[in-house]
Amino acid sequence: MRTSPITTPLLEAQNLMRRYWMRRGAFGKATEVRAVDGVSLSLERGKTLGLVGESGCGKSTTGRLVLGLETPDAGTVAFQGAPMPAPGTAPWRAQRARMQMVFQDPLGALDRRLTIGVQVREPLDIHGIGDAAAREKRVLHLLHATGLRPEQAERYPHELSGGQRQRAVLARALATDPALLVCDEPISALDVSIQAQVMNLLVKLQREFGTAILFISHDLRAVRQVSHRVAVMYLGRIVEEGEPDDVLHSPAHPYSQALVSAIPHPGRGGQRILLQGDPPNPADRPSGCAFHPRCPVAFARCSQESPALTARPDGRLVACHLAHEPAIARAA
């Protein structure tokens, strides 16, 4: 493996596109659905990028694209400075050990017939890491690091609680010491008190293992808690990207503003921005800025011209015709 200079990000995705063809109704013509429509992102070693958005915005597809589980129709993914090998090849499989994925449903991700210990050890066996004694030691270390007791290695998935299962999934994902972890809604199936445990654990594990994390979630609060940067997605595109606190406290894109104002929390008055309509259908993409039909501040240009994601003077990336004019943005 080529040693890359420190300045190269761990993961660099350029202009990713992913299309599907979908037929609507029996008579319908096949329509193109752009699930991911020109997403660029980069992730530093040991850092977390939060990817936030509603269902159908393409955040999960983006996660699968950067992992190489799906091949983009256009665009490139570079991991540690080198382009992604073709899926199914030997280099791709070797790469897989360096990147792992964690899903929403830990019970579905675990094999019901195997004990936790066997499953945490499995990646070590597959990638031939260490001898038997070293693997045993590694498994115990991983269980300890994820807050599971050694005797829980003998348990089967159904004997553990939801939170413990997600810990086991994390232990297994970290077995090969991956440089990148893609977590797709890792806490949304868990109870509130367990969500807090898992978020704390993710932060702790990142410090311990130096893993970079792509944290995909619909929950801005959770994203702020664990991320160093946050990207807001709407209908296949990133509409805003910046430091979590900046985005939360002064969201620049009208969609981010609505998302932030939708966060339920005590003591907020009635000043919530209510968006009209449903989350948009990717198969029926509005012209111009995809957000304009729901946008409270849209004007004529928005329905014709799609705004590019560009940096403001303060470094925030925003894709909105208005966001680069502070006066109007504030009035929104």
Partner: protein, 322 residues
């Protein structure tokens, strides 16, 4: 003012395993009560039991009164008039809560026929009015749609329209926004608040999310392992939570400002209902536990006006979120 609905020592068990271990609660006319707790704490079971909607193997004891009349174990005919009439209920997953083979209009008209005696064109006109009321665009056409043709948020609006068909005095909303996107959750909460004001209807909002409840309710009951552990007005529960579990729930919410530090997560997990601790169910996870906590289940004590907590060590905690 007398309570609209009163639950007294309501308990439920399934095959001998307790799910609800004695609930006392009163809902006043027109008030909005939040019920908060983690999965399995009994917040949904409480209302399914009160309305006789649990499967036959559930053993339900205690008392539920509506305007002082006992309704627990009432005759099916009495319950059928009540359900969807004076007390309506909506559920978590709107897509699967609507019958997939019937048109939406038919499902709403069924409730109108049962509770208001409307049929034919009159029922359809009223259904359309209800669709308009809950903000379903193109209402007349949507009456002929099937559930799978609408989004989750629109289906939840249909559920709400159906619940309003009987002009209920109390609406039980069981996690009505959990399956929905964040911006749609905001729409639905806003709709519920508006309808409650306009129709002077009491609302019980069941949620796992204290934030959601804080937004929409006047008062909150926090449940843990089949019991109510704390009950207080919303502002007070955030300012001065008395029960360590409430305190833990608030601490587990990621803050939206201030420095980022590890969340005050509650350690461990909910006890197995088949092996409940003898004393306080929260004791094994409680940072303030003393020996007495493990001896007997603590009685609910009055902390302040309208504020009760079931904890031996309950005293006003410091505010977690200023």
């Amino acid at each position: 003012m007398t309570a609209l609905v009163t639950l007294r020592d309501l308990a439920v068990s399934f095959d001998g395993t307790p799910a609800l271990r004695g609930i006392d609660l009163a809902i006043a006319r027109g008030e909005a009560l939040g019920m908060v707790g983690e999965s399995g704490c009994g917040k949904s079971v409480t209302w399914l039991a009160a309305l006789g909607l649990l499967p036959g193997k559930a053993r339900v004891t205690g008392s539920v009164t509506l305007d002082r009349a006992e309704i627990l174990h009432a005759k099916p005919a009495v319950l059928d008039r009540l359900r969807g009439g004076r007390i309506a209920m909506i559920f978590q997953d709107p897509a699967s809560s609507l019958n997939p083979v019937h048109r939406l209009g038919k499902q709403v008209c069924e409730a109108l026929r049962l509770h208001r005696g409307l049929t034919g064109a009159a029922a359809r006109a009223e259904a359309k009015r209800l669709f308009d009321l809950v903000g379903i665009p193109d209402a007349a056409r949507r009456l002929d749609a099937f559930p799978h043709e609408l989004s989750g948020g629109q289906n939840q609006r249909v559920m709400i329209a159906m619940a309003l068909a009987g002009e209920p005095e109390l609406l039980i909303a069981d996690e009505p926004t959990t399956a929905l996107d964040v911006t749609i959750q905001a729409q639905i909460l806003d709709l519920l608040a508006r309808l409650r004001r306009e129709m002077n209807m009491a609302l019980v909002l069941i949620s796992h999310d204290l934030g959601v409840v804080a937004d929409a309710c006047d008062r909150v009951a926090v449940m843990y392992a089949g019991r109510i552990v704390e009950e207080a007005p919303i502002a007070r529960i955030f300012a001065e939570p008395a029960h360590p579990y409430t305190h833990g729930l608030i601490g587990a919410l990621p803050p939206i400002d201030g420095p980022r530090r590890p969340l005050a997560a509650i350690p461990g997990q909910v006890p197995d209902p088949r092996a409940m601790p003898k004393g306080c169910a929260f004791a094994p996870r409680c940072p303030r536990r003393i020996d007495a906590c493990e001896v007997a289940i603590p009685e609910s004590r009055v902390m302040a006006a309208e504020h009760r907590a079931a904890c031996l060590r309950a005293e006003a905690f410091e505010a977690v979120h200023a």
